[in-house]
């Protein structure tokens, strides 16, 4: 039964990361789209909406870059560490 324990332990971590990145980033992206739409709605130009929108897109792009970094690092036998909050590339143990 030890496998079930390991699996459930892994599963909730994957679920948490999945919700944060897999649902969180698309939601930020959708908010970005909403901001851009608001920025030029009704003939009024709202620079704040544009700034907010592109800011949100930038966060999403950072998330995607994190994904690419992870894939490349894994391919080279490295791992990503989040112990300093910001990700760093470390040798795989």
């Amino acid at each position: 039964m030890h496998n079930l324990g390991f699996a459930l332990d892994g599963a909730w971590r994957v679920l948490l990361a999945g919700l944060l990145l897999g649902a969180g980033l698309p939601v930020l992206f959708a908010l970005g789209i909403r901001s851009l739409a608001w920025a030029d709605a009704g003939g009024v130009v709202r620079p704040a909406g544009k700034t907010l929108g592109y800011g949100l897109f930038a966060v999403v792009i950072l998330g995607v870059l994190l994904g690419i970094t992870f894939i490349v690092a894994t391919g080279f036998g490295k791992a990503l560490s989040f112990e300093h909050i910001y990700p760093t590339i470390v040798p795989k143990h």
Binding site: N3, G10, A11, V14, A17, L21, A23, L36, A37, V64
Partner: protein, 425 residues
């Protein structure tokens, strides 16, 4: 050329063939939603996915030599084959690998014919398990690991298969639901264009991750065969030609596009809107990468299918075709035993005939099965031209133009009829 090197060549060719089926079987995981929402043209999508798989395969410098250790005991923990299996020049091990690969390929071809997304890794593992049971008995299978980590058939195959679609589905459901709340009432010119790029980005991530993970498995299997036959000794590196061949095989397979499976996943399961497509693809990408980071091996296919299903449940008013979902789940359940039965039968045939002739017969069975499946598939071909057709034929036939003039009887009989209908059809 000795007999042993001919058998080795057959194993290598079969492994590359498996890699190729792995490619076209899994194109759908990355690109089905992108194609269904028309974010990319079908041909463009498979080309992009193929290129990213190629790049991904070359990115993997790490050696996945111990890939079979998850389910069978034919290798030591450092990747070298068990001594008992190579005492006769490696032919015992080569036969197990060959039979296992054939089991995996046959199952991949059959599920492709039925348009069912099933896990290629599970098919490979199933084939290897079957061939190992036939060759070494039940004790040759690593059922439950040694208790120190998630391992064995239960830990690496069965539990992830249950958990991964549920996790991915829930993430996609939450994402889809919130996104629809946020963008409700916005003009399509904002949402469609935006979500198009969101989908392309997330689908690209899935393709790249697929190339790094899945091509590595075949590289590991081929290298194991080379070590077994004494043609390679280094367990820290793989021959460069193996890497090139595997990368090309998976990329070509991906580019070919398993259109039948793309159609099921993109059109059959749920009707996907661009926002759902992005939510589903992002969920897949995040769950695959997170699980790979945490050492919790998931099947890309199960994750992608769960995501699409979740995105169908999350959009208000969207309809999920549960019959299609049921067929997929059935396919997942029987993937392992079905590939196992084929693997075991192939080992039996090869062992009975023995030697080079046995390996040749096993290979001939594979070729015959592949040709058979191909001809059967031609009866109802699915390709880039019809991949996006409506799933229910009734809906597609509805807009039949009424070509017959309503008042045909009132028209003077002297007028030639073609004149009448001109411009109406």
């Amino acid at each position: 050329m000795t007999q042993a090197s001919v058998v080795l060549a057959l194993v290598v060719v079969t492994a590359l063939a498996f890699d190729f089926t792995n490619g076209f079987h899994d194109t759908a995981n990355a690109m089905a939603t992108t194609i269904a929402t028309k974010a990319l043209k079908p041909k463009t999508a498979v080309a992009l996915s193929g290129i990213l798989n190629l790049v991904g395969a070359f990115l993997s410098v790490q050696v996945a030599l111990t890939v079979t250790n998850a389910v069978v005991k034919i290798q030591n923990s450092n990747g070298t084959p068990k001594a008992a299996l190579v005492s006769d020049g490696g032919s015992a091990l080569l036969l197990i690998i060959l039979a296992g690969l054939v089991g995996g390929i046959v199952w991949n071809l059959l599920t492709w014919l039925l348009g069912l997304p099933s896990s290629s890794s599970h098919a490979l593992f199933g084939g290897l398990i079957g061939a190992t049971i036939a060759g070494l008995g039940w004790a040759g299978v690593n059922w439950n690991g040694d208790g120190s980590k998630l391992d064995g058939v239960v830990g690496k195959v069965l539990l992830p298969a249950i958990l991964s679609p549920a996790i991915a589905g829930f993430v996609a459901l939450v994402g889809t639901w919130i996104i629809h709340r946020i963008t409700a009432g916005l003009a399509a010119r904002y949402t469609d264009q935006g979500f198009k790029w969101g989908q392309i980005g997330s689908a690209s991530l899935v393709s790249l991750a697929h190339g790094t993970n899945d091509a590595q498995k075949t590289m590991g299997v081929i290298t194991l065969a080379l070590i077994a036959s004494g043609d390679w000794t280094d367990t820290k590196n793989i021959p460069f030609w193996v890497k090139v061949a595997c990368a090309l095989a998976i990329a070509l397979g991906t580019y070919l596009g398993g259109w039948r499976i793309i159609r099921t996943l993109g059109k059959g399961l749920v009707d996907i809107a661009p926002a759902q497509g992005m939510a589903a693809q992002s969920s897949s990408a995040a769950v695959i990468l997170a699980s790979s980071h945490l050492g919790f091996a998931l099947s890309t296919t199960h994750v992608a299918t769960g995501s699409v299903l979740g995105s169908g449940l999350g959009r208000p008013g969207a309809q999920v075709r549960w019959r299609v979902a049921g067929r997929m789940v059935t396919a997942w359940l029987i993937t392992l035993p079905a590939a196992g039965v084929v693997g075991a039968a192939m080992w039996g045939i090869g062992h009975l005939i023995g030697g080079l002739a046995g390996a040749l017969v096993v290979f001939a069975v594979l070729v015959a099965a592949a040709i058979g499946v191909w001809f059967r598939s031609r009866r109802a071909p699915v390709g880039s031209h019809n991949v996006n057709d409506d799933w229910d034929p009734v809906a597609a036939e509805e807009p039949v133009p009424d070509a017959v003039p309503v008042h045909a009887a009132d028209v003077p009989a002297t007028l030639p009829t073609p004149e009448l209908t001109k411009g109406r059809v």
